[in-house]
Amino acid sequence: MPMARASTTNDVFNAIGEPKRRAILEQLVVQQMTVGELVDAMEWPQPTVSKHLKVLREVNLVAETRVGRFHYYRVKPDELRPVQEWIHQFEKYWGGALEQLDSYLIDIQNNGEKSD
């Protein structure tokens, strides 16, 4: 049994494991937004948006910038890189490659195999 969990890494995975939080990240990737703008965009109650934003801030995936009396939230790209590496992993990477292989094999058989 794991004695001590890898808090940072697991926390990021836990954070993005929740579909609502992924949806928020997807919104904030496009542009920074206030809580009010997120509420409008997602059509969720404000407490729901705030709750998930809090988790995303705690794992450092989202940062807050204050402009006047508005608080803008944005994605922190450095912290999302682990996620990018994760995407590189199995199903995205190899699943994608196997699709390429499939069309390549069809191509070369239709066009006749390369002559050696």
């Binding site: 049994m1 794991p2 004695m3 001590a4 969990r5 890898a6 940072t8 890494t9 697991n10 995975f13 836990n14 993005i16 494991g17 579909p19 992924r22 949806a23 990240l25 997807e26 990737v29 496009v30 994605v75 790209p77 450095d78 999302l80 890189r81 682990p82 996620v83 990018q84 590496e85 994760w86 995407i87 590189h88 992993q89 199995f90 199903e91 995205k92 990477y93 190899w94 699943g95 994608g96 490659a97 196997l98 390429q100 292989l101 499939d102 069309s103 390549y104 094999l105 069809i106 058989q109 195999e113 390369k114």
Partner: protein, 169 residues
């Protein structure tokens, strides 16, 4: 020898091609350069390839936005046309394996095991297993966590994230 129970991730897929050809596609550079990338619009260039048991290869992926990624592969078993076992790492252009600095708990060694099965003269099934080798408890926990996410799926929004992240490299 620790015996942790690891359940590998698995992809099963079928190809309309004879088994020998499918296997060659995995082990011959003139084939590999044409397909071994995760999405259309990428380019693949093997700069070295000694694809046999105990051998290694180094290749470069050029993503659609021009960013490059180097991958170093160590082959453990190359049994034509049935089985292929390798470990693949993100590396630099010299083939030095890069640490997972942004992903501290991710297993250092991931093993890919491919079984090639002939279904007919023109149909081949690949069963592709992917699992950490000798993971620490922490690495195993992270592998499990990432896999749980695989099954939830990210949908189309994920592609946007990937494009965004690639642009910030």
């Amino acid at each position: 020898m620790t015996s942790k129970s690891i359940e590998p991730s698995v992809i099963v897929c079928e190809f309309d091609a004879p088994r020998e050809l499918v296997f060659d596609a995995w082990t011959q550079v003139e084939h590999l350069n044409n397909w071994m990338f995760p999405m259309p619009g990428c380019q693949c260039e093997f700069v070295s390839a000694d694809i046999k048991a105990g051998g290694t290869s180094l290749h470069k992926l050029i993503m659609p936005n021009g960013s490059e990624m180097w991958l170093f592969t160590r082959y453990e078993e190359v049994s034509a046309p049935e089985k292929l076992v390798f470990l693949q790492y993100m590396s630099n252009e010299a083939g030095d394996i890069l640490p997972h600095t942004h992903m501290p708990g991710w297993p250092k060694d991931m093993v890919a095991t491919l079984h090639f099965e002939s279904l007919s003269d023109t149909k081949t099934k690949i069963t592709f297993y992917w699992e950490p080798r000798n993971p620490t408890d922490e690495e195993l926990a992270v592998f499990e966590a990432s896999r749980a996410d695989h099954h939830k799926g990210w949908g189309a929004g994920m592609d946007q994230l990937v494009a965004y992240l690639a642009g910030t490299n």
